[in-house]
Amino acid sequence: MTDTTNFLAAPRLLLRNRAALLGAVILAIVVLAALLAPLIAPYAPNKLSIVNKLQPPSASHLFGTDEFGRDILSRAIFAGRVSLLVSLGVVALSTVLGVILGVAAGYFRALDAPISRLLDAMMSFPDILLAIALVAALGPSVATVIIALGITYAPRLARIVRGSTLVLREMPYIEAAITLGLPTWRVLTRHLLLNLASPVLVQATFVFASAMLAEASLSFLGVGVSTDMPTWGTMLASGREYMNSAPWLMIFPGLAIVFSVLSLQLLGDGLRDLVDPRLTKER
């Protein structure tokens, strides 16, 4: 009873959608580089070499070196591990929380007021402040950063999911599913969730980008992932001091963030078309 035809058509559709294909290729490269970091990084990420500090890009250090003489290319490759892990973790957690809260608020009238007020309360804190408070309570580590940011961004998704659910709940096909005597969980999982895919995908790519930057802010404030693990955010933050004299300290981790966010956005757009059977068929 699954929509197998959709997913069989997926690679072909992805090939036709050039933008989505480009996104998939960039993301694959970034992810592969992060996974294979020990094999492809030319230097160890934390190897100090004070004599080589603040070297501009050259043949031996393609992206240059930082204030401690560490190779920026190697650090950027290793940093992808934490940055991608945190961002994807945050997207996953906030999507799950957001969809659960949003669907509950939108579909069950009795739950709407309590959940919506909770979301309002959470959104009334500045994002970073809420995350700092959560990390401070839980202690800094990769997992706590993911949990803190996941909770912080969940209301954004929940709001959008609630709105879409309110509209979808009144659609005759949802009412038809109810009158067919389908159990509520089935109405929700099979009939509602599929139709929520597009707004959720769009918002999730947005959260991915925000999470990457928020992780940097947390690190900068000293409540991020532990300091001996480079992340794109921390590289960006520490390179700020040398922005005028050694811009490559910021440019390369910055580009890494730009490309991974862009690739995910392109891919997200393609995925949205993919889960819509109206666009799956030829032409």
Binding site: M1, T5, R283
Partner: protein, 597 residues
């Protein structure tokens, strides 16, 4: 007669698609003279709206291409520069559309919106414009126009808003009025008022009217000449009376033959299938009469003293008030009335999509008005529903086969392999090919989708089906076919239908009994022949009289009542509805006794 106001010559419009240019209308020729009404009639996709939009040059320019000539008072609109064209629109040509509820800006007063057009197009000062706006509102017969000038659109009903739209279209004294389905979204009694208003205004100002509609009844009512379109081609054109009396083309004959007409049931006891029309010859064979429900059975649904109220910040809406009726196996009870009368709410309450405020709904003897969700699930095997909008009632992301399969599997009626066979069988029963099971809803036409919905409702082998405006959104020929399908299913499986509809001519064909609802109450209920032949309540009579008759010879035999703003359905919170008494006119025919209130 004088030169034509509008002369369309050999108009062809093409849309750009990926394969190149695709012609949507081909070689259209017609004229509209001053003081004349020309109707363009056709089913959805016939190109009637594209014709009007081409004439107004309102189609996106990079995606469409029109050739031929469109002469407005001798000037060719297709070659006019865009700046000139803007003066023509709203100046020489006025236009009114189908949707009066969304075509006014909700945050500006009616007077303000009317005056704005006058200030812009006729160079008036705001003071002059306001005075002229009042004159216009009086011209379109809006009661107490002076006080209503400063009201906001939400205080106006659909019919009144359409009057405002007409006033706007008339603001610059156009030579031509294009009306694109102007009454389709309105109730029949309001439709009758708007149609007579348009023809009165036309007589007063000698303008030409181009009337676009799918409703042959409306055509017969208003048009001097008629253009029949089919899939982008002009099939036939001529005097309306001649066209109706002696249609020359098979398609016109088929179209005319498939219109449901009031008063074709004289003498028949049971419902009667719609005539089957042969599209090649246009000849029709009268439909077979359907059987009466077996006598002496216990009702499948028994509704007693049902009331449904909605609380709003401004008061309480008594959507359904003290409604009682029985529905027997094999019977079709039609619930008729105009929008907001509570007929759909009643149907939804029976399906428990709405929770009743008071009263009982017995299905197979068990009261489900306050049943818990586990009991409801069992109830839903005997009660099913078909919805109005064939485009929204199927989940776009689930193939139609899976949509029909799902209820069979979740209720555990059949193992998977047998269930798949059953899906094929159901598709076959509703006249679709079983191979279509793998397709998605968007690949089907409106009529086909409605057949899928019927197959899905039949999957649980229900005892009765609530059909909420199930054929209202369909084209005439498709409407007849789907209605016939419902009647066939009833005959073969003893199904009972609660047929909710505003369309009196379909109701006359399909039902055994009719209940007329007005302001949440049943004002009259009885056998179909009694309701249509011997209506007692004034509202029932008004409803039947307002249905447009597809016969130009009978035009103008009706007198329009002065327009009224309908009563507000809002009541104070402490309002107690008066207890109604019913008088039995004949066995089974009850009429609400008229009270002083």
């Amino acid at each position: 007669m004088s030169d034509p106001v509008l002369s369309v010559q050999n108009l062809t419009t093409a849309f750009r698609s990926r394969e190149g240019w695709r012609e949507v209308i081909r070689g259209i020729n017609f004229e509209v003279k001053a003081g004349e009404t020309v109707a363009i009639v056709g089913e959805s996709g016939s190109g009637k709206s594209v014709t009007a939009l081409s004439a107004m040059r309102l189609l996106p320019r990079d995606k469409t291409r029109s050739t031929g000539r469109i002469l407005l008072e001798g000037r060719d609109l297709l070659t006019l520069p865009e700046a000139e064209m803007r003066k023509v629109r709203g100046g020489r040509i006025g236009m009114i559309f189908q949707e009066p509820m969304t075509s006014l800006n909700p945050v500006l007063t009616i007077g303000n919106q009317l005056a704005e057009a006058l200030v812009l197009h006729r160079d008036m000062s705001w003071r002059e414009a306001e005075a002229e706006a009042l004159t216009l509102m009086e011209r379109v017969r809006i009661p107490s126009a002076k006080s209503r000038l400063h009201e906001y659109p939400h205080k106006f009903s659909g019919g009144m808003r359409q009057r405002v739209m007409i006033a706007m279209a008339l603001a610059c004294r156009p030579r031509l009025l294009i009306a694109d389905e102007p009454t389709t979204a309105l109730d029949v009694t309001i439709q009758a008022e708007i149609l007579s208003l348009i023809s009165e205004l036309q007589r007063e100002s000698e303008m030409g009217v181009l009337f676009i509609t799918h409703d042959m009844g409306v055509v017969a009512e208003v048009a001097d000449r008629t253009v029949v379109m089919f899939r982008g081609d002009m099939v036939e054109t001529g005097e309306t009376s001649r066209l109706f009396a002696a249609p020359g083309q098979p398609y016109t004959r088929a179209l005319l033959a498939s219109i449901p007409r009031l008063g074709t049931m004289n003498g028949a006891a049971g419902p009667r299938r719609f005539p089957q029309v042969d599209p090649r010859t246009g000849t029709a064979s009268e439909g077979r009469e359907m059987p009466l429900p077996p006598a002496g059975t216990a009702p499948v649904v028994s509704v007693s003293n049902l009331s449904i109220r909605f609380d709003l910040p401004q008061g309480r809406v008594h959507a359904v008030e003290d409604v009682s009726f029985d529905l027997h196996p094999g019977e079709t009870l039609a619930l008729v009335g105009e929008s907001g009368c509570g007929k759909s709410t009643t149907g939804r309450a029976i399906m428990r999509l709405t929770t009743p405020s008071a009263g009982e709904i017995r299905i197979d003897g068990r009261d489900i008005a306050r049943a818990r969700s586990s009991e409801l699930r069992t109830m839903r095997r005997s009660a099913q529903m078909i919805f109005q909008d064939p485009f929204a009632s199927l989940n776009p992301r689930i193939s139609v086969g899976d949509a029909i399969l799902e209820p069979i599997l979740t209720h555990g009626l059949l193992p998977k392999a047998a269930a798949r066979l059953r899906v094929a069988e159901l598709l076959d029963q509703v006249g679709l090919s079983p191979e279509m099971a793998g397709r998605y809803p968007h690949e089907f036409s409106g009529g086909q989708r409605q057949r899928v919905s019927i197959a899905r409702a039949m999957a649980l082998e229900p005892k009765f089906i609530v059909a909420d405006e199930a054929v209202s959104a369909l084209d005439v020929s498709v409407k007849a076919q789907v209605s016939n399908l419902l009647m066939d299913l009833q005959a073969s499986r003893g199904l009972a239908f609660l047929f909710i509809s505003h369309d009196m001519s379909v109701v006359e064909r399909i039902s055994h009994r009719v209940a007329v609802m007005h302001f949440g109450e049943i004002v009259e209920i009885g056998p179909r022949a009694a309701i249509f032949g011997n209506a007692q309540h004034p509202y029932t009579r008004r409803l039947i009289a307002a249905v447009p008759v597809p016969d130009p010879a009978l035009r103008g035999t009706r007198s329009a009542a002065p327009p009224q703003e309908p009563r507000s359905p809002l009541r104070p919170l402490d309002y107690v509805a008066p207890k109604r008494l019913y008088r039995e006119v004949a066995p089974g025919h009850f009429v609400m006794a008229e009270t002083s209130a």
